[in-house]
Each structure stands twice: as C-alpha cells, then as structure tokens.
C-alpha cells in the first residue's frame, strides 16, 4: 500500500507516494529523478547512496523512505549555490578525484558531512570520516587531497576574516 510522503529535497518541498519497504534511495531516483545517489550495493556496504537527512549523512539505501516525512533531504544536486560549484565539487573536479564518477556523489556528501562538523580535520580524521565510501577505480588519494585543499582554504578564509590573527 502506498502512503503519501512529504519532505523537502534540496530546499524544495515535494510530495510523492511510497510503499513502506521503499528506501529513500528508491524514492529519490525512481520517483523524483534525482539520480546522484547510486545503487552500489543496497546493503549499506559501499557508501554510494550517501545523502543528508536533516543535515546528517545517512545511507539512503537503508533509510525507509516514509521515515523522512517532514525532514530536509540534501543531495549533491543541492550543493551548488547560485550556479557556483561547492568548493568540494570544484576541488574534486580540478584534482581528478572523480574517474568513473559512481562513488563521487557519496564521497562528496561524506566529505561535506565531515567539514560541516570538523572544518580542520587531520588526515586520520578524514580517513575515518570517509571510511564508509568505497571506490572501485581506486581514486582515494585525489579525494583525500581535494578534502584537504578545501579544509586548508577554509582555514585561510577564517584567518583573513579574523584579520590574520588566528
């Protein structure tokens, strides 16, 4: 039996129908044509489906869609601002951190979750935060460097804002 499901996706209110056993991944891709989160494994083992629910990274393949009623869901499509790429997207692009691109959406969301919470992570903290995202092309180094670049740039901006008196 399908139930009405209302939530916000990348700032836009949306209403759709979903079965109780449908995942958020199913609803995003099949109902709403938001295809950035990927069906990598459907068992929570790859991170390719990572999206935000109310600002927290979650595995959308393991999220029962009906439980996000009233919540704010964010995907990679929601990272751009006024036509400008998010710094993470920019760094991934410029550093070749995306090869086939299948893991990229999940990587970006996991990276954003890290930097939202911890703007100056150590390498170890980055590795832990990204531990749930697998890449079959083996592109881990460039992802690490892209995240470090964004973190470093955020540190510079903060230093400038405080008049260089960090």
């Amino acid at each position: 039996m399908k139930y009405v499901l209302s939530f916000t996706i990348n700032g836009q209110p949306v209403e759709t129908l979903a079965e109780p056993t449908a995942s958020l991944l199913d609803v995003l891709r099949d109902n709403l044509d938001i295809t950035s989160p990927k069906r990598g494994c459907e068992s929570g083992d790859c991170g390719g489906c990572t999206v935000f629910v109310d600002g927290k990274a979650v595995p959308s393949c393991l999220t029962v869609a009906l439980t996000v009623a009233g919540s704010e869901v964010t995907t990679v499509e929601g990272l751009m601002r006024d036509g400008q790429l998010h710094p993470l997207q920019r760094e991934f692009y410029e550093r070749g951190a995306a090869q086939c691109g299948f893991c990229t959406s999940g990587m970006l969301m996991a990276a954003k979750a890290l930097l939202d919470h911890n703007p100056s992570p150590t390498r170890k903290e980055i590795a832990v935060a990204m531990s749930g995202n697998l890449c079959r092309c083996g592109g881990y180094i460039q992802v690490m460097e892209a995240i470090e670049a964004v973190a470093g740039r955020q540190r510079e901006v903060k230093a400038e804002d405080s008049g260089g008196r960090e």
Binding site: M1, P20, S23, P59, T63, L66, G132
Partner: protein, 281 residues
C-alpha cells in the same frame, strides 16, 4: 505483493497498543540498517512496519549512578557521548568501531540487540558490564539481565507485544577493555571480539568478566576463563592461561566472514590482549 502497512507512533502508549493488538504481524523499525537490506532484496516482506524513531527513545542519561541509554539512541550518539566515555568507555568504543559514519548516524543500540546477530557488537561489552534491558508492554514493564535476553542467533526473549525501551548499565567498578577484530580495520562485521572487566581487591582479581563476541550463537561469558583469574594476581602468564581456557568454551562457526579454525586462533589473542589492557599494560 501483499499490502504492507506503516505506522509511525508519536507516543509510547500508541506503539504499545499496536503491539498488543498486532504484535505478531508487526516489524518494529528504528534505524533500519539491518532490516532495509532484507527489504531491498525482498528477503523480508513485512505485514506492517512500526517506526519508533519519534518516541523520544534517543537519550543518554545518568540516573543514580546507573547509565540509562534509550533503545533508539544512535551508535554515533553513543560513540561521541562524554557520559558514556566516562561511565562505560567499552560501550562507546564498541559503537565507534561499528559500520561507518553514515550507518552510525541511523543505526541504534536497541536494533543491534533485538536483531541479535551472532556478530552483534553491542552485546559483548554490555554483557561484561551486567547491563539490564527494560521491556515494556501494555501488561507492564520487566527488567531483564542482558545475559538472559538472548536465546540464540536472531532470537531473543522479547515477546511480540513488547518494546525494548532502555538499556541500563550499573555503575561500573573495575577496569575494562574491548578488542575487536574484523576483516578490515573499519567498516566490516565483527569476526571475533573480547570484552573484559576485572575488579581488583588487594592486588588480586576479585571479580572477572571475560566475554567473547562472534564466537558462539550469542555473546558468551567464558566462565572457566573467569575462574582462572579470580582470586589470583594478574600476570601476563595468567592472562594467556585464561585466554587458552576461553577458546575451549567458544563455539565458533564457519561463515562468509571467517572460519571457526581462524576464529579460535584470533579469540585467544584478543582475550589475552584485553586482559592485559584492562590491567593497564
């Protein structure tokens, strides 16, 4: 495909009423990280889902020296809780080593206990800490020592009309250590784990708890190994003896993660390491 129903209770008594009326048809849903894979591959087709994420069961509180953790508390909240790190560090550590950050944001301690996988990570430290579980129904409330909660893999004593609402950890005495082994350092199911607590008295071990995880149908206390330590001064030789004794008390199986042969070798190392860590070495 039969029509599944969905309920999202906002009050506990609403949830209990539903469970009293239709408990045998209802699949209780918290984080869903263990149920959803079964929905996705159509292995499980529930008749009805009862979502308990909005019942206010996500909390961590100190209550008269006990630590009270709501059953729907996420692993991430437990892993990063200062209160849990102070009062029951093994539990925070075990939670932090489960899954990955996104999974930890939604998976719950209650779900891990109720699903009762052989490889569940919450039972071993809770068993070593003599935790108690609170099961609630329209008939009332019962407090169950965690050692009595598990019957075997995937089977607990929870009745269809009951909801697990809280995990209580009594004030922890003694030193503890938890060591976990998976196929990879992170993001892999537990192959074997050791949760140890030792209470010392006058330089000798007065009360030992040695728990092995993923080594039997449920987490188990290795009573013989505990007997090796009790009443004696703890040395590394004794830790080795206790670990060897513990191996004989375990009933590991071959599965997709590891073989029984391998598990027996690993658990000996883990228990010895955990005892030495608990001693402060």
């Amino acid at each position: 495909m039969p029509n599944a129903e969905y309920f999202a209770a906002t009050e506990l008594r609403e949830a209990l009423r539903l469970l009293a009326e239709r408990g045998d048809q209802i699949t209780v849903l918290a984080g869903g990280t263990d149920l959803a894979p079964q929905f996705n591959c159509r292995e499980l087709r529930p008749q009805a889902l009862l979502y308990i994420g909005k019942l206010g069961l996500n909390y961590i509180a100190a209550d008269n020296g006990d630590l009270a953790i709501g059953a729907a508390t996420t692993l991430e909240d437990i892993a990063t809780s200062r209160l849990v790190s102070e009062k029951a560090p093994m539990v925070a550590q075990a939670a932090a080593e489960m899954g990955n950050p996104a999974i930890r944001n939604v998976a719950t301690i209650g779900g891990n206990l109720v699903m009762a996988s052989r490889a569940a990570d919450m039972p071993p430290p809770l068993l070593a800490l003599d935790a108690k579980l609170i099961l609630v129904s329209q008939r009332g409330e019962r407090v169950v020592p965690i050692g009595e909660f598990f019957k075997r893999a995937h089977k607990t004593i929870r009745l269809p009309d009951e909801l697990l609402t809280e995990i209580r950890i009594p004030s922890v005495k003694g030193q503890t250590a938890f060591v976990r082994h998976g196929r990879r350092k992170v993001f892999s199911c537990c192959v074997a784990s050791a949760a140890v607590r030792v209470v010392m008295d006058g330089g000798k071990c007065a009360d030992a708890r040695i728990v092995a995880g993923s080594m039997a149908s449920t987490a188990i206390r290795c009573l013989g190994a505990e007997g090796v330590l009790n009443g004696k001064k703890l040395t590394s030789e004794l830790a080795g003896e206790a670990a060897a004794q513990a191996v004989s008390e375990c009933k590991p199986i071959d599965d997709e993660r590891a073989t029984a042969w391998y598990r027996r070798r690993v658990i000996k190392v883990l228990i010895e390491r955990a005892i030495n860590q608990a001693r402060g070495l």
